[in-house]
């Protein structure tokens, strides 16, 4: 049984339907990526899965449980963390307080999780008392991922972690994603940087205008001519 199964999901805002009936699944321990151009419905898909917006129709099953009608805070409790597009750092809270917010659903000892975040992102430990809003873009992305890990998620939804970062930082972030997977988490990654995403993904889906047009292993899609033309910048 897959860890996450999405069937016929439709979601949108007001009169606009951004996701028009997509189905996908993520197995335990996988890195799965969702690639596509701007406005293809990638972020909407993640938001509908994590409950930030309510799906119009369709089913979302996480670990054998229907979650498509649950509020977001109940979904976090089940072990699904969402790192939103634009990172969503709380600017006036310190780095440390941001990390604590990530563990909001948990009452137990946190220092193990804090240690883990510090190990993955030593930069954050140096800036614990600094307000989140004063971090650089790359540090904010590290904080957003670290904060999501504080909830001890079984599945991590990452929305455009490479956005606005320098190539070196993108490299670091992607290495961290692989490290997180090695430690046992499953990752569903949304990216415009298709090249990098396909490189680390076990499987991938291509989303166009709210519909899935292609699916396969990361390597398969990276070789696919239409993908290369559309997303990898080849003529």
């Amino acid at each position: 049984m897959p860890l996450l199964e999405v069937r016929d999901l439709r979601a949108g805002y007001g009169a606009i339907l951004a996701v028009k009936g997509i189905s996908l699944h993520v197995e335990e321990g996988e890195i799965v990526t969702l690639i596509g151009s701007n406005g293809a419905g990638k972020s909407t898909t993640l938001r509908a899965i994590s409950g930030v917006i309510r799906p119009r129709s369709g089913q979302v099953t996480f670990d054998g449980r229907r979650i498509d009608r649950l509020p977001p805070h109940a979904i976090v409790r089940l072990g699904l963390s969402h790192v939103p597009e634009g990172r969503g750092i709380f600017h006036s809270l310190s780095v440390y307080e941001n990390l604590l917010m990530g563990a909001y659903t948990r009452g137990d000892a946190l220092h193990q999780d804090l240690e883990r975040v510090y190990r993955l992102f030593p930069r954050l430990q140096e800036r614990l008392r600094q307000p989140g809003g004063t971090l650089s873009g790359g540090e904010q992305q590290m904080l957003a991922i670290g904060r999501a890990l504080m909830a001890r998620p079984r599945l991590l939804l990452l929305d455009e972690p490479s956005m606005g970062l320098s190539p070196v930082l993108v490299e670091t972030i992607f290495e961290t994603i692989q490290a997180i997977r090695r430690e046992g988490a499953t990752v569903l990654l949304v990216e415009q940087n298709a090249l990098m995403a396909l490189e680390i993904a076990d499987r991938a889906y291509v989303l166009e205008s709210g519909e899935i047009t292609l699916a396969g292993t990361g390597a398969e899609l990276a070789r696919d001519d239409s993908v290369r033309r559309a997303y990898l910048g080849e003529a």
Partner: protein, 383 residues
């Protein structure tokens, strides 16, 4: 970022640690230093500090813009009035100390009644609905005159006893309301630093992200409305007992605006800000009405002469178009009367232009404003 790693000298630390006890002790000395009109003015200031602290929970902590805060104040005041005024159809002659929790409870229920329908609303839309809610409560008080005696109001509301001693003089009321403000201030600052406070902070910054962190936003927004309303209700019960007479006219939109202005002028989310804000918004207009103020202005003979000189000069340019200032004996009172609202309005405008984040912003808010102005954190150099 200013360098905060250097430890401050020891005496500042001691002072910082005891700043609240010292401030309260100083406040308690005030009735010995001031005349009765000043103490009466300070009772209102303290009452509006209570209200400001309550609205601060809703607006400052949780970021929910509430323009109908007067509704909760009215709920508390009418609970007191209806249960104790001889003119009320349900006068039960209950004791103040029994009504206090009832009034707080009823106000928080009213808070939940407002909170439930506005849960999905944000920002401007929330402000408009809460504005309407405040008016609905006022119109209800006017129109249900079989219960509330409408515009006639409820009179002869008894004053409370404390340990068999009646709270009567302005000085006694001053201590009583200040005590209430201290209790409320303590509670709200503890709330702010708690887990609940952090949830509010997260909701204020980004409701979606807060939800994605596992914060039950419905629960915490309702909790903010209910806590703010409870404090408003407490203020209302105390107000009714102090004034002794309530009518719907006392619960107009102006009260909501005053309390919101206290929170904003002082600095959203900040307890010292609320105190400063109330001193300015409630204190200054009253001070400008005092005899002392007119006397003070009347003694400024040089100012009168200077103004008269200016008028003569202008008059020479356009003859006959300008009058003269009134004689020295009356001009102080007239100046205070004529310019009271101009002085007050100008003061508010100046404060908001010079200090957009409020007079005494909370440390968090200060960072936020600094961040909005300058996206990359620029180093602050000492002048």
């Amino acid at each position: 970022m200013p360098d905060r790693s250097a430890p401050p000298p020891p005496w500042t630390r001691t002072l910082a640690r005891f700043r609240w006890p010292l401030f309260v002790a100083f406040t308690c000395l005030l009735p010995f230093l001031l005349t009765d009109v000043w103490v009466q003015m300070l009772v209102f200031v303290a009452l509006f500090i209570v209200l400001g602290l309550g609205l601060n929970v809703v607006v400052g902590f949780a970021g929910l813009l509430d323009l109908g805060y007067v509704a909760f104040f009215a709920a508390g005041a009418y609970t007191m009035g209806l249960l104790t005024s001889p003119g009320s159809p349900i006068d039960a002659g209950l004791d103040f100390w029994l009504i206090l929790p009832i009034g707080i409870l009823i106000a928080s229920i009213v808070g939940l009644l407002l909170g439930l329908p506005v849960l999905p609303l944000r920002g401007d839309y929330l402000a408009i609905v809460t504005l309407g809610f405040g008016e609905i409560i006022r119109l209800f008080l006017i129109n249900r005159d079989d219960l509330t005696r409408g515009s006639q109001g409820l009179s002869a509301i008894p004053r409370p006893d404390l340990f068999g001693y009646r709270i009567d003089s302005f000085t006694e009321w001053f201590y009583f309301v200040v005590a209430a403000a201290v209790v409320v201030g303590f509670c709200t600052s503890r709330l702010r630093d708690s887990r609940i406070g952090r949830a509010w902070e997260a909701i204020r910054e980004d409701e979606d992200v807060a939800a994605a962190m596992g914060v039950n936003t419905t629960k915490y927004k309702l909790l903010a409305f209910a806590s703010g309303a409870a404090i408003g209700g407490l203020g209302g019960v105390i107000y009714a007992a102090f004034i002794g007479f309530i009518s719907p006219a006392a619960f107009s939109l102006q009260v909501s605006i005053d309390v919101l202005a206290i929170v904003i002028i002082g600095g959203m989310g900040s307890t010292p800000g609320v105190i400063l804000g109330s001193l300015i918004l409630i204190g200054v207009p009253r001070i400008l009405q005092f005899r002392e103020t007119s006397d003070f202005l009347a003694n400024l003979g040089w100012l009168r002469d200077a103004l008269n000189g200016l008028i003569s000069a202008l008059d020479a340019a356009t003859p006959g178009s300008l009058g003269r200032l009134p004689p020295a004996e009356t001009w102080g009172a007239q100046l205070a009367d004529d310019t009271r609202f101009i002085i007050f309005g100008a003061l508010l405008v100046i404060i908001m232009v010079v200090r957009p984040s409020g007079l005494w912003p909370s440390s968090r808010r200060r960072l936020e404003f600094a961040h909005d102005d300058t996206p990359p954190p620029a180093p602050v150099t000492a002048p």
